[in-house]
């Protein structure tokens, strides 16, 4: 028996280390960021479900791999390998099993996807005369802001008092989005130049921003998240300054939110400014 087979133990470290890292991750504070959205738990559930599923397959294949490495090292198996032309039934099994699993996942997640991505399921102001949601006469909820990604920042446009985007009373800001708590809300996202991805990790929202397309995302910040700020990042490598595309989402109470808009409006329209402090005063 040669010493070479001990190398297989190095390969065994891969699954051990991999699984160990997952087990230790929450304690190392490397797990998912706090979820402060209403729908986030469905996304997390899917994540954890798929992780266990793939985790089990991963551990099983790694064990089989290492076992073969250990058992069939060349020193203790001097006879040359015999090749076969494969096993038909084995191939059928390893085609059907993954296919069935993938199909199952596809069906299992279909509602989570539809709720997040189908414009028909976006929040509505009213369901229209026919009283049925998801039909053509629904009145869609007006977006509370438009967020435009550009290399390398997020430009934000609130509709202003008239509630309509792209009119003269729009309020402008950059990298600093404020949203009201406990309200189903819609954002319009756009790109000014290249592909970006609008990612709010704490709200479990991620949507690629495609140049030339006007897209919508919707979510609800749960009670208890108000008064705090969360990350807004770009999740699509969009150029050398991609890492700079970091903004902030602050969840406000309804009254704080209104005060914030008023402050923006005041800043935008004010006609005088206090003189800057002189050197002595500073």
């Amino acid at each position: 028996m040669g010493k070479a087979k001990y190398w297989s133990i190095v390969y065994l470290m891969v699954p051990i280390f991999g699984v160990g890292l997952f087990v230790a991750a929450p304690a190392l504070r490397m797990w998912l960021p706090a979820d402060v959205s209403e729908h986030g738990h469905t996304i997390d559930h899917l994540f954890v479900f798929i992780m266990y599923l793939t985790g089990a397959v991963f551990v099983a294949t790694e064990c089989a791999l290492v076992w073969y490495l250990w058992k069939y090292d060349s020193k203790s198996n001097p006879a040359p390998t015999k090749f076969t032309h494969g096993s038909h039934s084995l191939e059928v099994v390893w085609t059907i099993l993954p296919a069935a699993t993938l199909l199952f996942i596809a069906i299992y997640q279909i509602n989570a996807w539809a709720d997040q991505k189908l414009v028909r399921r976006a929040p509505v102001e009213s369901v229209g005369p026919d009283g049925v949601r998801g039909t053509a006469d629904d009145v869609p909820k007006a977006p509370i802001a438009e967020v435009t990604g550009r290399q390398f920042e997020w430009r934000i446009r609130y509709p202003g008092p008239d509630g309509v985007l792209h009119t003269r009373d729009d309020l402008l800001d950059v990298n600093d989005l404020h949203i009201p708590v406990d309200e189903e809300l819609v954002l319009v996202i756009k790109s000014e130049d290249v592909l970006h991805s609008f990612f709010l990790p704490n709200f479990r929202v991620k949507q690629d921003v495609v140049p030339g397309m006007k897209q919508k995302v919707w979510f609800k910040a749960v009670k208890g998240s108000e008064g705090r700020s969360y990350d807004l990042v770009c999740a699509e490598l969009c150029g050398w300054g991609h890492y700079k595309m970091k903004g902030r989402v602050t969840v406000d109470t309804q009254s704080d939110y209104r005060a914030w808009l008023e402050k923006l409006s005041f800043e935008q329209h004010k006609t005088s400014e206090p003189p800057p402090a002189t050197a002595e005063e500073q």
């Binding site: 070479a4 414009v119 028909r120 509505v124 290399q151 950059v174």
Partner: protein, 421 residues
């Protein structure tokens, strides 16, 4: 035994590769010294003039040729003398101001050495999240180590990043030919310049923004002194001062003190004079005339197409397609100011009047910012101040703000839910 070793090789190789790539990552920071090109600009500029004269020889009349040849000869002499000039100016400026990495903060500049220390030099970070080398971390790849607007990403941008060394700024609350206030620079860093590559640094802590502002001023002052020394190199008096300042020891110190007094501190012409008075030169904003916004827009339109003279540049359609525009080229009209905004060694870029129908206005775009910009023009790019009473400027503000939406008032909301996606 030999067998085992040969089998081990791939893993050893992998480890070595990993170590090497980590090491090269760690080394990234040091290489920035390579684009320290504080004084390469004059050479490119002179060379460009020579090339242009050379080209004109072919079409020139015989009696002009002699003159052109003399000019070329003079320029070539200047080019030959340049390395020596550069050596002297660089030595003296380094002795006075330090290098951008290891700044010396002269008391004559009134800058805060602590703030500058936070912004200068290689990037650092400690466990508590305190960071140093802020300028290199955030700005250097565009604005360059010396603030010359020629960092490695600069050439791909339009407009080019600002060359701080000439002391020109576009977005300021102060009057024509004045410097921006600290508040103006802070606002630029926080808001960025929409419509250009200059990003927003809104989420940086206030202390870091302050440090960066102070450092921009340091680079700008250092660069302006450097430029002035070049420009006045052959002047009487300056020559002697420079020769003296090159000496070591106390004698040299005395001459350097003279330079500081003459170029920096002089109340009338010193580089510091404009920086120091910025806070007193803030443009007064008069109250808005009390008319309805529709009326104000209408009045603004009349001024825009009439006595304001905006049409000649911004065009009948206000889309920036008027007859007049500039390029950042030394020979073009009004060129000097424009050239000074960007690094002169870059290829030309047309400086077009803006399309005012576009919903993005460059730079801070609060009403008060637009008021000041339209009252004074944008001196750095040659947009003139209109000759109208100060309160009428408000009509221009209202008109300019309405331009993107003039033909774009929202119609009835389209139904959006019919798409069965």
């Amino acid at each position: 035994m030999k067998r085992t070793l040969s089998k081990a090789r791939p893993s050893v190789l992998a480890l070595v590769t990993l170590a090497a790539s980590l090491a090269s990552l760690a080394g990234c920071d040091q290489s920035s010294q390579a684009y320290f090109t504080a004084t390469s600009a004059p050479k490119a500029e002179i060379q460009r003039s020579i090339d242009r004269l050379d080209a004109s020889l072919a079409t020139a009349k015989d009696e002009q040729k002699e003159d052109i040849r003399t000019s070329i000869k003079n320029l070539e002499e200047e080019l030959g003398a340049l390395p020596e000039k550069q050596r002297i100016v660089t030595t003296i400026v380094d002795a006075m101001f330090g290098t951008p990495d290891k700044p010396i903060v002269l008391s004559a500049t009134g800058l805060d050495a602590n703030k500058i220390r936070l912004a200068a030099g290689p990037t650092t970070a400690n466990q508590d999240g305190n960071t140093g080398g802020l300028y290199r971390r955030h700005c250097v790849h565009c604005h360059g180590v010396a603030g010359n607007g020629a960092g490695p990403t600069a050439e791909f941008l339009n407009p080019y990043p600002r060359d701080f060394r000439h002391g020109w700024f576009k977005f300021k609350s102060t009057g024509i030919n004045e410097k921006p206030t600290d508040d103006d620079l802070r606002r630029i860093l926080r808001e960025g310049i929409n419509g250009t590559a200059m990003p927003s640094f809104k989420l940086l802590p206030a202390a870091e923004i302050d440090a960066l502002v102070e450092y921009v001023k340091y680079l700008s002052i250092r660069g302006e002194v450097e430029n002035t020394l070049y420009k006045r190199f052959d002047d009487d008096g300056i020559k002697e001062m420079l020769a003296g300042a090159m000496k070591g020891g106390e004698a040299g110190d005395e001459f350097r003190a003279l330079i500081i007094e003459d170029l920096l501190s002089d109340e009338a012409t010193g580089v510091m004079a404009t920086w120091k008075r910025a806070n007193e030169r803030i443009v007064e904003v008069v109250p808005r005339p009390e008319v309805s916004s529709e009326e104000s827009i209408q009045k603004g339109r009349e001024i825009f197409y009439g006595k304001g003279g905006c049409v000649q540049c911004h065009g009948d359609s206000a889309m920036g397609d008027g007859q007049t525009y500039y390029v950042n080229d030394i020979d073009a009209t009004r060129s000097n100011a424009i050239k000074q905004l960007v690094n002169p060694s870059f290829p030309m870029q047309a400086l077009k009047p803006r399309n005012l129908r576009y919903t993005v206005i460059r730079g801070p775009s609060r009403d008060i910012d637009l008021y000041r910009r339209l009252r004074n023009g944008i001196d750095a790019v040659g947009m003139p101040a209109p000759t109208i009473p100060p309160e009428e400027v408000w009509h221009l503000v209202d008109y300019v703000k309405s331009l993107p939406y003039e033909f774009n008032e929202p119609g009835p909301t389209q139904s959006e839910n019919t798409r069965a996606n």
